[in-house]
Amino acid sequence: MKGALTPAAAAQMIPDGASLMIGGFMAVGTPERMIDALVARGARGLTVIGNDTAMPGKGIGKLITAGAVARVITSHIGLNPETQAKMIAGEIEVELVPQGTLVERIRAGGMGLGGVLTPTGLATEVEDGKQVIEVDGKRFLLETPLKADFSLLAAWQADYVGNLCYLLTAHNFNPVMALAGRIVIAEPESIVPVGVIAPDAVKTPGVLVDHLLIRAS
């Protein structure tokens, strides 16, 4: 862990056109201050990998509204009519991925695996254009790994070396995305001294985290 950054400084590190993994499920467990800073900077052309695009005014929805996003890889856009409208207008490219496949593709990218062999999507539109692999007489789709330039995480607590823990349903994609971003920035609700988070309570080891956002003022 390299240290704490302001949201503005973090947003400055992220160039237009970058690929971002953003934690959260319908904006629960999403780093909102980080997103606000990206909107304030006027980011453009981003690829966003996340479970969903939330709703207008929340989480990833704010990036959609701001016109910052060129492409999303996601499992669900149903609660954000703006994503749907921009998709139909050809302003945003949308790749829809089954949720369980999406999280495993991210994990595979982060853990050095060559892909995911899943039965999900077989004999549906999801199969189109993909390799089907037979293992012991059963068929599986080969889904490719995902990585990104940055992973933007929301956490409950962080300690000074970047260890993270999460609360309840705010875990979701955050622990897996911590593995798959070349640069990992975490936005914790509080930052505590080393030792406050016991080793068995750590969900994301600090060695995976490059930067923390400074506490909200």
């Binding site: 499920f25 319908m26 904006a27 629960v28 467990g29 479970n51 969903d52 996601t74 499992s75 669900h76 856009i77 149903g78 609660l79 749907q84 998709m87 829809l96 089954p98 949720q99 369980g100 496949t101 999280v103 495993e104 994990r107 899943t118 039965p119 999900t120 999507g121 077989l122 004999a123 549906t124 539109e125 999801v126 409950w156 999460y166 609360l167 309840l168 349903t169 705010a170 875990h171 979701n172 994609f173 955050n174 622990p175 897996v176 969900k203």
Partner: protein, 217 residues
């Protein structure tokens, strides 16, 4: 009793002691309130909790604890937080005993379509494809017809959710079991005749000698 309550009460009877159950958003989520706590059932929300509980007391909602529809929920004693990889590992790995999902169409092969109406509604599949592929038992809870058209059809015209045959369909008119020998009519809703059901169903049904009325304990 309205149609939704009828369906939810009938589906609740499918839930056996100690099961792990996932309820889809909308109609399926109503099922929980008809399952007695004494059964020791755990409800999973795929966004990250096993042991989903009722809506929290007014003023005690926590933004870190929602269901997959984004509503505030509570957690029962013995609940466990899980991340999305574990959540879908449980689903895909067959550890989920039952999922209850809404449907747009089910056909004579027992195939479900519930995630897309091309050109009209493209919300994304979210977790539906994994749920239908992986759950030990898939129950479809839906109205028998929409805008006067049967939702139980000879062959799905909408994109499939999975190649897997669902286990049971519960509607406001009937309980139908898809099998290798076709759709078997198992039960009638109170006051509904076999002829009523046949008239409302586009798909061919197999009619056993005895088709009892649903009992709604």
């Amino acid at each position: 009793m309205d149609a939704k309550t009828l369906i939810a009460r009938r589906v609740a009877q499918e839930i056996k002691p100690g099961m792990l159950v996932n309820l889809g958003i909308g109609l399926p989520s109503l099922v929980a309130s008809f399952v007695p706590a004494s059964l020791g059932v755990f409800f999973q929300a795929e966004n990250g909790v096993i042991g989903l509980g009722a809506r929290p007391p007014e003023g005690m909602e926590d933004p870190h604890l929602t269901d997959a529809g984004g509503s505030f929920v509570s957690a029962v004693p013995g609940a466990a937080s899980i991340d999305s990889a574990m959540s879908f590992g449980l689903i895909r790995g067959g550890h989920l005993d039952m999922t209850v999902l809404g449907g747009l169409q089910v056909d004579e092969a027992g195939h479900l379509a519930n995630w897309k109406v091309p050109g009209k509604m493209v919300p994304g599949m979210g977790g539906a494809m994994d749920l239908v592929t992986g759950a030990a038992r898939v129950v479809v809870a839906m109205q028998h017809a929409a805008k006067g058209a049967s939702k139980i059809v000879p062959r799905c015209t909408l994109p499939l959710t999975a190649m897997r045959r669902v286990n049971l369909i519960v509607t406001d008119l009937a309980v139908i079991e898809p099998t290798g020998a076709g759709l078997i009519l198992r039960e009638r809703a109170p006051g509904v005749s076999v002829d009523d059901i046949l008239a409302a169903t586009e798909a061919a049904l197999v009619i056993p000698d005895d088709v009892p009325e649903m009992t709604l304990s």
